[in-house]
């Protein structure tokens, strides 16, 4: 076995992959939520549609989107192998557990939280990503240039109560995943020091609330304004 495969098969190597892909997904979420804030502009979706066109055509963004796909796939595959390894490390469990006294619920249920996020992600990609790439999206024209009217797709989707509810619930789970994941990734990378770890933890607690709340407020905003 080469030193690379040996490292990637080790517990620490696998965790390194989890942390790097997780952090990349955090960067992705940051960009995604910032761009989508254009939905709040109240301009009938013009700015949002122009942004969507830029995001689907710009070559640099393309590269980032491939990195995002790889990160999601890598994160999921490694979460499965890690979970199996971790389960096999304790074939016989305890009759009584006091785990709630020594660790947070989120930290003990990252796999469940991640699975819920994954199911949501599949539905989310189908409703929007698949539609703009291969679906029948109406065309709008701004200043003589044609754009896919993704805004109308979003608007139609979020006039259904169950869709709005689904998004709000899914974002809650994402928040819990990140409430542990954000700071955990830095610990995995070996970054734990009294000089900066309190700042990382604070940033993590803000991030895990702010980003899911912003995401969840988009379907709510559209539902209540249209």
């Amino acid at each position: 076995m080469s030193w690379v495969t040996k490292t990637l098969k080790s517990t620490l190597g696998r965790k390194l992959i989890m942390a790097l892909t997780g952090l990349f997904l955090i960067l992705f979420l940051t960009g995604h939520v910032s761009g989508n804030l254009l939905l709040f502009k109240g301009d009938g979706g013009e700015a949002f549609n122009m942004y969507a066109k830029f995001m689907t055509t710009n070559p640099a963004v393309k590269l980032l989107s491939y990195l995002t796909y790889i990160s999601v796939i890598g994160h999921v595959i490694y979460s499965i192998t890690l979970n199996r390894l971790n389960k096999s490390a304790r074939p016989i469990g305890y009759a009584e557990s006091g785990a709630f006294t020594n660790s947070t619920w989120s930290s003990r249920n990252m796999g469940i939280l991640g699975t819920i996020i994954l199911v949501f992600l599949a539905g989310h990609l189908y409703s929007f990503w698949f539609q703009i790439h291969w679906g029948d999206v109406p065309i709008v024209t701004y200043a003589g240039e044609e754009y896919k009217d993704l805004y109308s797709v979003v608007k139609v989707a979020f006039q259904q109560e169950w869709m709005v509810a689904l998004y709000v619930v899914a974002m809650t789970f994402l928040g819990f995943h990140l409430s542990h994941g954000f700071a955990s990734a830095f610990q995995t990378l070996g970054l734990n020091h009294k000089k900066y770890s309190p700042a990382i933890k604070t940033l993590g607690s803000i991030y895990c609330v702010l980003v899911p709340v912003l995401f969840a407020s988009m379907p709510l905003y559209i539902y209540f304004t249209s």
């Binding site: 517990t11 190597g13 696998r14 096999s88 930290s107 995995t188």
Partner: protein, 249 residues
């Protein structure tokens, strides 16, 4: 005090095992947990029954022999060793569940006794320094800054009890392994084998079948010696830098 003990009984490594319930009377609040078990065992012996097997040695909180997963926590409700736990931490009439450490790498030998040689093999893989033997070196021959010595001392406090493994949802031995990797990585004496140590100890830890770390922090919260997970972060740094820079292919 009067208690009901629900204890894991298992004849040997291949026996399936199961819980047995024992009522105990006349327990003094000032007894240590192990003394309370001694009383039970005396009664069992008098009745001609097999006493409950459990590990113990120093009974001073320094050797790491005692174990026991008591009411869902390693070493019971306090962050100390089981030998330093006293019956005043329990209530009259309480049912106390006592289980062995549970991990693939710590197989049960009998009742509450588990095989913890996996830890010894991790230490053998790299938890040492090679120094010329000879006369006792002079004190302060090797200058070590106080802050560094303190950090190394903190890590060196690990007594190898295995509570971190028992507490961890993944039965991970990261806290134990990282304590030794850290202690030696911090000190000048540990520099010669520094990279190889990190690689070998992690490889041995994995080979023993311990799980990976999810950073839940349960180990740190239950460690009787207060070993910090900053040591795990240090081990990760040591390991990642070793794999890209050591001479071992």
């Amino acid at each position: 005090m009067q208690l009901t003990l629900k204890i894991w009984r298992q004849k040997n490594a291949s026996d399936k095992g199961g819980f047995a319930t024992y009522p105990v009377d006349h327990v003094s609040k000032d007894m240590s947990f192990l003394e309370m078990l001694d009383v039970l065992n005396e009664e069992l012996t008098e009745k001609g029954q097999d006493p409950v097997h459990f590990d113990h040695d120093c009974r001073e909180g320094i050797c790491g022999s005692c174990s026991l997963y008591i009411n869902g926590k390693p070493h019971g409700p306090l962050q100390t060793t089981t030998c330093q736990l006293h019956m005043r931490s329990f209530n009259d009439g309480e049912t106390v569940t006592i289980e062995p450490w549970r991990a693939k790498a710590f197989p049960v030998l009998k009742d509450l006794v588990v095989d913890r040689y996996a830890f010894d093999r991790i230490i053998q893989a790299g938890g040492y320094v090679s120094v010329g033997t000879g006369g006792v070196p002079d004190a302060n021959e090797i200058p070590i800054p106080k802050t560094i010595a303190d950090l190394a001392m903190d890590a060196a406090q690990c007594i190898g009890c295995g509570a971190c493994v028992a507490a961890c949802k993944n039965a991970s031995a990261m806290l134990f392994t990282s304590a030794k990797v850290s202690q030696l990585a911090l000190l000048p004496q540990g520099q010669v084998e520094r990279k190889t140590r990190a690689e070998k100890m992690v490889a041995q830890m994995d080979a023993e079948g311990f799980g990976a770390c999810t950073n839940t922090g349960a180990c740190e919260a239950e460690c009787p010696k207060g070993i910090s997970i900053t040591n795990i972060a240090r081990m990760n740094r040591e390991y990642f830098s070793a794999v890209v820079s050591s001479e071992n292919l």
